[in-house]
Amino acid sequence: MIFIGKKEEEIIRKFKEHVETVGKTLENFEDFVNAYLDGNCSDADRCCEKVMMLESKADGLRRETESMMYAGAFLPNFRGDLLGLIESVDRIADRAETVTKIISFQKPEIPPEIKSGIRKQVRLAIDTFKELKESIYLMFEDMEKAKGFIKRTEEKEHEEDMVEWDIMKTLFSLEIDRAQKLEIKEIITLIGDISDLAEDASDRVEIIILKRSV
């Protein structure tokens, strides 16, 4: 767009690159979970490394974007909002990395009864993030359209909550060791956090848009 300054354009580009990297982190996280559930250890290890590498790349992009913003692009209040948003999106990658590390280190034994539920939960977490991603991209281009994706992020998060609830119910109905149940419960809750964090970030997008309504 001709009216947008070079600094602003560069920040938007970096911002989107950061969001894309978080998205790739999540895709590799899904591959990791699926490989682990399939018992494919070598694939799981490879994906685990990739998740960690992408999370670290996202961190770097976040820092670069933040320093560029404080060099004077955009309106000052908006800089603060954008900073809050990028950190909020970054936390999604952090959480995916945390779950990956926990599974890789603890190597929990997942009962077959909940495996498909976990796959579905991870998919829904990624779907929630995808809606968030669209809302962020559209926030820069068309705020009206972004509102629709904010709503869809909430809906996906709710859907994920339901799946999480079902997994928990099944888990605690199983005749397995209580410690094992608690270990898996922690992992399920952390996977659920990915959707929650995506929804938190979409709330920030909503506030940014609301601040601009005249």
Binding site: I4, L75, P76, D142, V214
Partner: protein, 311 residues
């Protein structure tokens, strides 16, 4: 000659230091525009406003009283001292009201007040905040739907920054055109031509903006940016337009009261009533207190100078 206009230069300096806050305060306080660049643009446009659009106001103030040179100098000195004292005590003060008070204070002794001109000035003072409120309301109602049509947040940012520069430059132009009369108007006809009064007055205001405006700009700006970016720009535009209209009519008015009107108008258009008793009391005190204090100080100075046989 220079001794006579020294109080004017002092008053112009104070005016620039204080009133530039009403045009560039919000965008500078919220970091949209850098302070140094704002002061340079404001100074240029203040001088342009004074030279291009200041004639009508200068003639009005010049015709308020048929004072001689010394009486004019005392009027301006009284106005300047009252502005300094009231600013020190944190009281609402307007140079327009101070200078008129100063001229009338002496005019009451000498019997040289042109009452018709004074009535015109008083009507315009009353109309300033009300006019700015109406203009702010209308501007918001017209521009808000247009602004909300801009869907891109990045483009909105850009447009807000560009508008802040335009509104600030226009506000500075209006400030120069309207308020230059406060600075050198009293000397029009007895010492200065309209053109030289406009140039000297404009430069004095610009000097104040360039050297001593930061503190007030940040303080006043932060009060106005309680509004959102868009509404704060609307209030500056409303103020600029109101003050410019009065510059054409030829009556110096208070930019601070105009900006308050603009803020209230933009707020009302948004559905928020920002008026409170304290704000209305400050406007009322500005109308009454400032001219009375300035008139009293000028009158006392005049009596001292008469007793000392300087006049």
């Amino acid at each position: 000659m220079i001794w006579y206009i020294l109080p004017s230069i002092f008053l112009g300096w104070g005016l620039g230091a204080n009133d530039s806050a009403n045009v560039f305060g919000p965008p500078v306080a919220n970091g949209m525009i850098p302070y140094r660049k704002a002061t340079i643009v404001a100074s240029i446009f203040v001088v342009l406003g004074a030279v291009i659009g200041g004639a009508a106001g200068l003639k009005t103030i010049g015709s308020l009283s048929n004072s001689n040179l010394m009486e004019s100098a005392i009027s301006v000195l009284g106005g300047a001292i009252s502005v300094a004292i009231m600013t020190y005590f944190g009281l609402p003060v307007s140079t327009s009201q101070a200078i008129v008070g100063g001229i009338v204070g002496i005019g009451l002794f000498t019997g040289k007040v042109n009452w018709m001109v004074l009535v015109k000035i008083l009507i315009c003072w009353g109309a300033t905040p009300i006019g700015a409120l109406i203009i702010g309301y209308i501007l918001y109602k017209i521009l808000a739907p247009l602004f909300s049509k801009i869907k891109s947040l990045a483009l909105q940012n850009r447009i807000l920054i560009i508008t802040a520069w335009i509104a600030g430059a226009y506000g500075a132009y209006s400030l120069g055109a309207n308020n230059v009369a406060n600075v050198t108007g009293a000397f029009v006809g007895n010492l200065l031509s309209v053109n030289s009064a406009a140039l000297i007055g404009g430069l004095a205001i610009a000097f104040g903006i360039l050297t001593y405006s930061k503190k007030v700009m940040l303080t006043v700006g932060k009060r106005i940016i309680a509004l959102d970016y868009f509404s704060s720009l609307i209030s500056i535009l409303a103020e600029a337009l109101t003050v410019w209209i009065f510059a054409i009519i030829g009556v110096p008015v208070s930019t601070s009261q105009a900006v308050v009107g603009g803020v209230l108008g933009a707020g009302l258009a948004r559905g928020t009533n920002l008026a409170n008793k304290q704000m209305l009391l400050r406007i009322f005190l500005g109308w009454v207190q400032t001219p009375v204090v300035a008139g009293a100080i000028s009158a006392i100075l005049y009596l001292i100078f008469t007793v000392l046989k300087i006049i």
